[in-house]
Amino acid sequence: MTRFRRVAVTGFLPAVLALLVAVVLLGIVLRILGADPLTSLVALFDFGETPRAQANQMRSWVNGSVPLFLSGLAVSIGFRMGLFNIGVEGQYRIAGLVAAWFAATVALPAFLAIPVTIVVGMATGALYALIPAVLKVSRGVNEVITTIMLNSIVGGLIAYLLRGPFRDPALGDSASGRTAGVREEAWFPGFDNPFGWLGMDTPSRPLGGFLIVAVLVGVIVAVGLSRTRFGFNLRASGSNPEAAATSGVGASRMIVQAMLISGAIAGLVGLPQVLGDDHGYGAESFALGFGFSGIAVALLGRNHPLGIGLAAILFAFLNRSGPSLQNVNVPPSVVLIAQGVIVLSVVIVNEVLRRRLLRMEDRKAAADHPAPPQQGAPSGTAPAGASA
């Protein structure tokens, strides 16, 4: 019973409660905006009229969740360790650029092109994340500050690289920066008919195959965190650094390793677009902002790979619904509000329930080991109290 209650209080109860709170709050917001909450809620599930439109929307939902998931995963590795890697944004941008440049310029045999490009992207992200790690370990600089600053620096760095060494030589002088096109061997394949088993039409563009990589990385991280010594050390350092250090886990080494892994996963975030869609890095079209939404996704997913997956799917669902909401005259910024409300609700409901659980445990402890003065208290009122 106690175990069941623990699961209820820590597991699905907060999620359900938070989602309910969020829906109610959103209803209020929509009301204030002058929209009908019920119509808007229905519009969220509007996938379009034609079979093609529905398939396309499914595709954009699934595709949209991949970078969010990877970014959330990258952020969560740091969170698990008590590190706030706000720098996923910068790490995935530079990694996307370097990977695109690499895949465009280096000729590799077909079976090597994609894996090696992915490794290059991960290595770039990891290296960029190494800077804040080293600064923290050697100089004690707070990683929040350094990663934010490195996010800013990356903008300038990319602008420079796209003007100089990484620029497509065929581009005119005044054209906006982009790398040369990725060589065809490194184009990431997709699924032509991903929703056929659901009886749906084929989307007008294949579903990105990078989904497989994302799932694979998710599984590796989940297993690595829960089943390996490294994962244990990481979690231990996160939840109690002193205890971990006392038992022989080197704090500095853990910081560096966690940041490297976080950065390496961040390096994957931009690759679906670079290798699967754009086949190059165009400064104008490379999608920005996943590093920041990843923080929200990680929070919502409570730093657990499965939770992050669900959170990414939810966020992508909301992102996809932006245009559908506009069909019923709800501005697309409501999507952002919805995401914010959900994260806030989850964080706050979690905290409320956590405190409640703590109180319950206190009482349990007190009941199991009653303090001497309380021993005389009559316990006969208990059944009466419970039935009241």
Partner: protein, 379 residues
């Protein structure tokens, strides 16, 4: 169900533990702090929401403009996908709306507008959605529709796509309508040079992209054509092609205030919605600004900003939209076109009458550019 079970049995434990004097209804007692917390939560989140809604700034609503079809020709259904900021941004997107509304009124087309999400990551989805709903032509507003539009256009080869701004496209059914911003910027540069008393002027660009470089290069060349000794400060709100400089009012305010402090008396801001930062800076300093895209003397929301607008470098996005729809309606496939001074695609505004005294000089330069006697650089 589990909720209730938890309440009851923890209540039992609670009761066992407390003193006899405080016995009543422990489960109710327990409910109170939770409910309070939820109330507090709701309140807090609502406040946060309010803030979020305020900061998003623009009231982006989608409207479907309908008008009776002129003539009885088959009605053209125009799809329009905006740049970030959407309808109501006060500059670029609103100009496109103006063109669309004119087309609805004069040509009787129906239209559907979609705005991208705040991070602008779903541009391709917008275009696909419009194509799936059988809109044709589909107009993407802003250079960021580059790659997304080229991709989607290949998926829907029978649909005409039109991009406002940006580099050329290799896809057959994409027509790019761009502007010779450098030519119009040259003229406002001339106006700034003729009007500057301190012999110092400033340029604030949204970023270092191709389009913004055209603004900057033309402006500098225009200033120097009048007086090479005039100093032009050049400040960009974001590096490379980053889009965040187009909504950075605070950055623009700081940049403009700095320029005025350094002695500049006229600042030209080519940074989309960020103008809303440099205008108040000019007001504080008692100096002037040059508007961008629309004739900002007429479009600014704050009437006290009007006397600050020396002139605006107008970019007739509305004309580009209208003409695209018009030629699509009468002839089908569209060709890319660059709007310049010659066809009044760009120019300077005269509202407020602040440049009336130098109009002859401005017109003189204008005719020289149109005739090709002056060649304006793009970067």
């Amino acid at each position: 169900m589990p909720r209730r079970a938890a309440g009851a049995s923890s209540g039992a434990r609670y009761a066992r533990n407390i003193r006899a004097s405080v016995t009543p209804t422990p489960s109710v007692l327990e409910e109170i702090p939770l409910r309070h917390s939820i109330k507090a939560t709701a309140l807090l989140a609502a406040v946060a929401l309010g803030l979020a809604a305020c900061s998003s700034g623009s009231s982006t609503t989608t409207t479907t403009t309908t008008a009776p079809a002129a003539g009885g020709a088959t009605t053209v259904k125009v799809g329009m996908a905006f740049d970030t900021g959407g309808r109501g941004d006060g500059t670029f997107n609103d100009l496109a709306v103006k063109g669309l509304e004119r087309a609805a009124k004069e040509l009787g087309v129906t239209a559907k507008e979609l705005s991208p999400n705040a991070d602008g990551t779903n541009r391709a989805d917008l275009l696909r959605q419009l194509a799936d709903s059988a809109y044709n032509p589909i107009i993407g507003v802003g250079y960021a529709y580059g790659d997304p539009m080229d991709q989607v256009a290949k998926e829907y080869p029978k649909v005409q796509f039109v991009r406002i701004d940006g580099g050329p496209s290799t896809v057959a059914n994409v027509a790019v309508m761009d502007f010779a911003e450098q030519e119009g910027s040259f003229l406002v540069g001339v106006a700034a040079a003729l009007k500057s008393k301190t012999k110092k002027v400033g340029f604030i660009g949204g970023n270092e992209s191709m389009v913004i470089n055209k603004f900057g290069a033309g402006f500098v060349q225009g200033v120097k054509a009048v007086d090479p000794a005039i100093v032009v400060a050049d400040k960009r709100l974001a590096s490379g092609d980053e889009g965040k400089g187009f909504g950075d009012t605070q950055g623009a305010k700081v940049a403009a205030a700095g320029m005025y402090q350094d002695g500049a008396d006229i600042v030209f801001t080519a940074a989309g919605g960020s103008f809303a930062g440099s205008f108040p800076a000019a007001k504080d300093a008692g100096k002037l600004v040059i508007g961008v895209d629309s004739d900002q003397y007429n479009t600014v929301s704050d009437a006290t900003w009007k006397p600050l607008v020396l002139t605006s470098m107008v970019k007739r996005v509305d004309n580009a939209v209208f003409q695209s729809i018009q030629s699509f309606r009468s002839g089908g496939a569209l060709k890319s076109h660059s709007f310049n001074l010659k066809d009044d695609g760009v120019g300077y505004s005269q509202s407020g009458g602040f440049v009336d005294d130098i109009k002859t000089q401005l017109e003189d330069y204008k005719s020289k550019i149109v005739s090709g006697a002056i060649k304006v650089n793009e970067k």
